[in-house]
Symmetry: C2
Subunit: 448 residues, 2 copies
């Protein structure tokens, strides 16, 4: 009967059977120390010469071998306790070792600091490092927290399609798929589907892959990422959407404090304190502020430049002690056709971005719910309503005032944990040069 390493603290003096990977081995001749790792933690084990067979087995072990070990849980003497390790007060005295699988020679030590290309080349190995496991544990807690919060708030989770006909968000950046003699596309977002579903369930959310055929390989770009998409009906205006996102982030903070303190410590980052009310200002106000404080006039620009996003985050931190700030009322010209316009000044939208630690992590908005207004907005943007006939049925059938937002899971994970590259927060990142292995014109692995 297997005992998880995380459960040994209650079993001092008992004989237990552990299973896991050899994390490291230190051979001191008579004493051989093995650190064993399983999904619940790590513990030091020792093979003594009096258990001859086990001692011989321990000599042969190498990192990443998979073993089943029987042994006694001993409490370490006070002065030998390692306070930095969760199980640093214990040691397993090995009585028996069974090798479940050997490893071949490893490419490098798992704890080594390697460059990003080497890291990606060896993902099935490098993902086992303490750092990677911490990152993707945090990521799984984020998705769990999304589901907890939105289920509790009466949202229904939906499965949005990724294979789409025309590219609803307008083009150049979509991947083409050969579809039975037609060309289909990979969805850039579940936007139109989640709006349709507001007509069915009022409040919906979707977590799934989305695609951008951007021809860049940078620390910020991914060609496939995970979007967490929320949409809700019967709102007063976009204030309700921002309040909902604010409440979700508060819930997320609590989930992370409960489950991921160790992981944040390991990665040298801090769980952000989410204000009860995240500060907000309009784009116009932000631009006047930036212009006034920096002397560089940005009031004519239709959007925020990356350096303005950073500046505003610094400003929010020093003025409101907030890692977050909402910027609202982006110009209609820069927002998609379905974005609701300010009734008093239709040059501006009821749309917003949420900035966090220097970058935009959310784009959201109230949407147009009136059929005729939507048709007019499409025409103004040069779009053909006939191409959106399927989507438009929702609006022909009566749609409540609604809106929503999207959050990129990998970018959120990255910024939460202070990672330099979004690819470190993506299990198997795809970019212009890589699908698992590097792509090259002579590489037939990808050409099939």
């Amino acid at each position: 009967m297997r005992t998880l390493i995380g459960d040994i603290s209650g079993k001092v003096g008992e004989t237990v059977e552990l299973e896991g990977w050899v994390d490291s081995r230190r051979d001191h001749g008579k004493l051989i120390f093995i650190d064993l790792r399983d999904r619940s933690g790590k513990v030091q084990m020792v093979a003594l010469p009096n258990h001859e067979e086990a001692h011989a087995s321990a000599t042969a072990l190498r990192p990443e071998w998979v073993v089943r070990v029987s042994g006694t849980v001993n409490a370490r003497p006070e002065k030998m306790v390692n306070k930095d390790e969760p199980n640093g007060a214990f040691e397993i005295e090995i009585s028996d070792i069974a090798v479940l699988a050997m490893a071949k020679e490893l490419p490098f030590d798992l704890a080594s600091d390697v460059n990003i290309d080497t890291y990606l080349d060896y993902l099935p190995f490098t993902l086992r490092s303490e750092k990677s496991r911490a990152i993707f544990k945090v990521q799984s807690v984020i998705t769990r927290s999304v589901r907890e919060f939105f289920n509790k708030e009466g949202f229904t989770e939906i499965q949005a399609p990724k294979l789409i006909g025309d590219d609803a968000e307008g083009g150049a950046n979509s991947f083409n798929v050969e579809y039975f003699g037609h060309t289909a596309h990979l969805a850039q977002s579940p936007q139109l589907y989640k709006q349709i579903m507001v007509g069915v369930f009022e409040r919906v959310f979707a977590v799934g892959n989305v695609y951008r055929a951007e021809k860049h390989s940078t620390t910020r770009h991914l060609n496939e990422y995970t979007s967490m998409d929320i949409e809700m009906g019967f709102i007063k205006d976009y204030g309700d959407i921002m309040a909902t996102e604010n409440a979700f982030l508060k819930h997320l903070e609590m989930s992370l404090r409960e489950s991921c303190s160790e992981e944040f410590k390991l990665l040298g980052s801090e769980i952000p304190a989410v204000p009860e009310k995240i500060p907000m200002m309009t784009l116009r106000e932000a631009q006047i502020l930036i212009t006034g404080e920096t002397g560089v006039d940005c009031t004519k620009e239709p959007d925020l430049e990356p350096e303005h996003e950073r500046w505003l985050c610094d400003y929010a931190k020093r003025t409101f002690d907030s890692d977050f700030i909402f910027i609202t009322d982006f110009p209609t010209a820069k927002r998609p056709f379905y974005t609701f316009r300010d009734e008093k000044d239709p040059v501006y939208t009821k749309g917003f971005d949420l900035l966090f630690r220097g970058v935009e992590i959310t784009t959201g908005a109230q949407r147009i719910h009136n059929y005729d207004d939507l048709i007019a907005s499409m025409k103004e943007k040069g779009l053909d309503p006939e191409k959106f006939a399927f989507y438009l049925q929702a609006f022909r059938s009566g749609m409540p005032p609604h809106g929503g937002f999207g959050l990129g899971l990998e970018r959120l994970t990255q910024k939460m944990l202070g990672l330099g590259n979004v690819k470190e927060a993506t299990l198997f990142p795809r970019d212009i040069n890589r699908i698992d292995r590097l792509l090259s014109s002579t590489d037939d692995n990808i050409k099939n």
Copy 2:
């Protein structure tokens, strides 16, 4: 302040503000009855002539209009109570109506029985029917139940990529994607990635879209569907995998009983009773049984035919009173390269199918964890290990005995609810003829 219809029972005598869709309107001249629908339920409202303005508004209302209604919650007299409706004991006396959105002329009555093509042509409208809402509520409870169970059991949820290089499960049925001058593919399953992740987290699950480029449009086929994939390490053998699936199904039964009794009743189906131990037999035993009982010799066949699956389900029902039966030990020749073989008779695998109400809903197996065995199996199947070099790193790095299974969300929903067509259990089904709208060679909506 909005009140949800589901909360009115505690507000008899109070004035409330409700928001929702006009589900139906019955005009009796002096009395106008409106059924209002929101995400929490439905209630009858009445406009009386003494509220002149509200009465005039009510006259104008049509189905699917979106309204905000103020009114008093009245308890109906005993003889007027409609026991078939959750809110059949109440009626809202309307004092004010605000129209939030009108609907255009509707294509047909939402409650009409339409054929599947019409249903699919008008999904943004037809998904609003009581039946569709029930189906997709059940579906959301299934995915929630998966996450509850596997999180509790120490599994980590992962985001598996859908854009892949070579088609790991061997070919003809994969969609091609134009990828920066290369050809990529849409994943048919997260199989290889979930195995890699067993090396990282021991126990993982993934819920996401998978793709099959099958050239069929039937009641069983989908080109994009949602796969719930589970993989776990440190198992004794495939018995542990089946036991885990059995325990999950038991949990699912409880979740459905708790949240979806009304929906099952509405759809005329029964929540299946999951046995403590689902009956199981080997394929060989099943074939001998079928041959003995039907007189038709199927003992030479390498797999189960659809009629055999139905027969075995009938058999399990009448013999063990079970809607489920595991069939195990399929031949190595019919299973993928990574399937673990029976040590005593390597012609057979430690693989299984789970049959439910006449069809296979799961394929699962123990997997090969030894690197050299895996290479040998690939070569025997005519596969080139070099193409799997990325995946094989996991096995070079030491992999525990492991296995898992996959469950198709839409098919499970369909069979649970006794629906005739899997497309009824898919929000926006894609088939060879349809991506939202029908495809045709002259249709440029899909050609971009």
